[in-house]
């Protein structure tokens, strides 16, 4: 452990912030540019939440039957 500590200690940490900024801007700019290119390939995936509620049929009770309580007065 001592040797790792020495290596990390000697490396200096002042440039961490610059590295962080560089990584951020490179990644953000590259992906950001990609967003500007029009594409149809995500259409299907983007619609996934909208196509998941169509049951084939409705059947099986999920718990034992019980008497139906009186309906509350309908409110708007």
């Amino acid at each position: 452990m001592k040797s790792i500590a020495d290596v990390v200690g000697a490396s200096g940490l002042a440039f961490y912030a610059e590295i962080a900024l560089a990584i951020f801007f490179v990644v953000f700019v590259v992906i950001g540019l990609r967003l500007l290119v029009p594409s149809q390939q995500w259409e299907h995936v983007a619609h996934l939440p909208l196509e998941d509620d169509t049951p084939a049929r409705v059947s099986r009770p999920s718990r034992p039957a019980r008497p139906t309580p009186p309906s509350p007065p309908a409110l708007p």
């Binding site: 951020f24 950001g32 990609r34 967003l35 390939q41 299907h44 939440p49 409705v58 059947s59």
Partner: protein, 758 residues
């Protein structure tokens, strides 16, 4: 695997199914019939409301305790013990159950599969509720690790890990057996939340048990502070943000009946958020004894975080494009719009607060409380309400009882948030400015800390009113849930869903990616990401790497570089009596109101004394720097007042400071100090590497503690205080308070007082 699934190869394509219309069934794919487990969703929904109401009521009670200190009527109802109960209840019980509600509902539908195991779902539900009950019992009784949002003691921590693993198995099991090839963006956020919370929970809670419900963090001082805020900040990130972003990406399109504005933007949002959030924790420790490089790194990444956060917010709001007219009519959408707007405000304010010069004013003040509540009440609360209002008719298979009541809930709660945050923002800025004000002669303009407390009273009352309105909204919400539930059918219908099983052969044809595209085109066309979306294991590993890289870059240097924590020769471990006194300080939650960290600002050193050094905390398991100053800093409390002052102050704070809002602790003068636990606590400290000297010899710790207690008690009696306190808890707490910050005043090793430094 559940039994509610079966293969129906005979079902024709014209049946109502969930596979994508227009996309031909792959060769060899056969339709399978299954149903979703909505019973578990209903359970989590009820738990969300129940714990939400409890957590908010506790919040209102402690808010009132600040305005009316006499409400601290019993030790287990005191502010210091109840504040962690409030935070844990709203984060892990309310928001946690809300996440599980939405996750169990949406995951099954997005994967076109029932949950991997109904048994694991039930274990997860009951296990999580049991943990909440355990928290509700242990925290008011004073069992705490003294780490914000990680207060629960070690047996409960183990239970949390077990239940979380069960949830993870269920989630990944469901993903593994899914019938939809692509993992929708909501699932990415669920995956990131599940794996990162596990990492954070395990590493921050590593501790050495010193009893059935007592433990000491394996980290000390600066390192412990760093780990805690790495955890604390990312608990907000991966428990209150990413899970709710997942819910946003699923439920907003559902409610608006249109797809997310930009799926590609969600890719950028996800990866940049997951990668950057984890670096930002050190911004909670600006100008403390944390090394400056770590603090600066935390600030930079926090500022960067603004961009992906707003990318997500914009994506959420623009999902409503062309559907804004629905917002007028639909309370669900109203809640979502305010939630996403609150997310945008909180994620703008967060980076701003992380800038050191802003943080210098805001840290330790109520400004941070206002910031947190903008996120919690606005973002988490309103996302939850919107989601539940949308789910109620679907889960209970009936009409929502009253849309008008939902509207009323929206307006009452919105007004409540407004009153709450305006009051507490004012309180925070007022505090910060008063603390740092100097008069024309160069002296502190408000030298008595109590002046800054009294000034906040009108804001505290206004905050309580805002909180009350929010809770009134919760009651309306509860009534709507109850009445909707009452009109449920006698028997819930269970929809049978059909979808084709996934087959190995797959092509991107028909999805806009040319089969013949070259490597570069596929890269720049982000075909690789589509590929990742089909491979859940690869996706999970990539997420873990994104999180781990940031963590390791910050944590390893903090632990390995010795120059980060320069040692101070005169700093010695606590004596056995001081150690148990410190445990009483922790038990009563004193760190919730008092910091122990003087920042290197003139207004702080003038008020509290010499600024804190990293080397002063090397034996502090756990660190007790605190994050808030409802009362003054105590880092240099030792030796400021005679022992009797502390006895009188703990017995009745208002007998010392007329307008103090501190709870009274008369019980400390009558409760017997448990000398029986001292040896085991010293031994636990020794296991952590604290040089306890002779105190580790069997029975020595107790003898040393008794000797020191006798000396202190005799001194108190001599000063005119009550006699015979040597076996009472107040003596240990006094010993600890009188030790605080005194080590660096000594030139050499501490003097060999009776029973002192071992």
């Amino acid at each position: 695997m559940t039994s509610n699934e079966g293969t129906s190869p005979a079902v024709g394509r014209d049946a109502l199914t969930t596979f994508t219309p227009g996309v031909p069934l792959a060769a060899g794919a056969e339709l399978e019939s299954f149903s979703y487990d909505d019973a578990i969703v209903r359970k989590f929904l009820i738990a969300t409301f129940t714990w939400g109401l409890v957590g908010m009521l506790v919040g209102l009670f402690i808010a009132l305790e600040l305005a009316v200190p006499s409400l601290n009527i019993a030790p287990w109802l005191s502010f210091g013990r109840l504040r962690p109960l409030h935070t844990n209840a709203v984060i892990f019980a309310f928001a946690g159950n809300a996440f599980f509600t939405g996750c169990y509902y949406s995951l099954q539908r997005l994967c076109k599969a029932r949950m991997f195991s109904d048994g694991l779902s039930k274990f997860h539900f009951w296990g999580w509720q049991s943990i909440i009950v355990a928290a509700a019992i242990t925290l008011p009784l004073g069992f705490t690790q003294a780490k914000e949002y990680a207060e629960l003691e070690w047996p409960i921590d183990i239970a949390i890990a077990v239940v979380w693993v069960a949830f993870a198995i269920n989630l990944f099991g469901t993903i593994a057996k899914r019938r939809e090839r692509h993992l929708y963006v909501a699932i990415w956020f669920y995956i990131a939340s599940v794996v990162t919370v596990a990492i954070l929970h395990i590493f921050n809670n590593l501790s050495i048990p010193a009893g059935p419900l007592k433990s000491y963090s394996i980290y000390a001082g600066v390192q412990d502070a760093f780990m805690q805020w790495w955890y604390g900040h990312n608990a907000v990130a991966f428990f209150l943000t990413t899970p709710f972003l997942g819910l946003m990406y699923y439920f907003m399109p559902k409610a608006a009946e249109r797809p997310v504005y930009s799926y590609k933007l969600s890719i950028l949002h996800f990866w940049s958020l997951v990668f950057m959030y984890i670096w930002a924790g050190p911004h909670h420790l600006h100008y403390t004894a944390l090394p400056e490089w770590a603090s600066t790194l935390g600030m930079l990444f926090s500022v960067m975080l603004w961009m992906p956060s707003w990318g997500g917010m914009i994506n959420g709001l623009l999902t409503l494009r062309g559907a804004w007219h629905k917002v007028v009519e639909e309370p669900v959408l109203k809640f979502f719009v305010v939630a996403v707007t609150a997310y945008g405000m909180a994620t703008f304010e967060g980076p701003m607060l992380s800038v050191k010069s802003v943080n210098a004013l805001a840290h330790y003040t109520d400004w941070i409380i206002a910031h947190v509540h903008t996120g919690a009440l606005g973002w988490n609360g309103f996302m939850t309400f919107g989601m539940i209002y949308w789910l109620l008719p679907r889960l209970f298979q009936t009409r929502l009882y009253s849309k008008k009541l939902a509207e009323l809930h929206f307006w009452v709660a919105s007004f409540g948030i407004l009153l709450y945050v305006v009051a507490i923002y004012s309180a925070g800025v007022t505090q910060g400015l008063m603390w740092r004000a100097f008069d024309s002669t160069g002296r502190l303009a408000y030298p008595d800390f109590i002046e800054t407390v009294v000034k906040l009273m009108p804001m505290y009352w206004m905050r309580a009113l805002g909180g009350t309105l929010y809770i009134v909204g919760m009651v309306i919400f509860g009534w709507n849930i109850l009445m909707t539930w009452r009109s449920r059918p006698a028997v819930y219908e269970e929809a049978v869903v059909q979808a084709p099983r996934l087959v190995k052969a797959y092509s991107d044809a028909g999805h806009g990616v040319p089969e013949t595209a070259g490597g570069w085109s596929r890269f720049i066309g982000m075909a690789w990401h589509r590929s990742w979306e089909r491979r859940w294991l690869l996706f999970t590993v990539a997420t873990v790497i994104a999180v781990a890289v940031a963590s390791l870059f910050e944590i390893i240097p903090t632990f390995l570089i010795r120059s980060n924590v320069p040692t101070i020769a005169s700093v010695k471990p606590y004596t056995p009596l001081e150690l148990v006194g410190r445990d009483i300080y922790i038990r009563e939650g004193c760190f919730n109101c008092h910091s122990q960290m003087i920042r290197p600002f003139r207004h702080e050193t003038e008020r509290f004394g010499e600024y804190s050094k990293p080397g002063e905390f090397v034996y502090d398991h756990p660190f007790l720097w605190g994050s808030r100053r409802i009362g003054p800093d105590l880092a240099r409390e030792g030796g400021k007042y005679p022992d009797l002052w502390h006895v009188r102050h703990m017995q009745d704070p208002r007998s010392i400071t007329a307008k103090s809002i501190m709870p009274s602790y008369p019980q400390l003068l009558t409760a017997d100090l448990d000398y029986g636990v001292i040896q085991s606590r010293v031994d636990a400290m020794a296991m952590l590497g604290v040089p306890c000297g002779d105190a580790v010899k069997q029975g020595a710790a107790r003898t040393m503690a008794e000797s020191q207690a006798k000396t202190i008690a005799a001194g108190i009696a001599q000063q005119g205080g009550p006699a015979g306190l040597e076996r009472k808890e107040i003596v240990a707490l006094t010993a600890y308070l009188q030790r605080l910050g005194t080590d660096i005043k000594r030139l050499g090793p501490s003097p060999a007082a009776a029973g002192s430094a071992p």
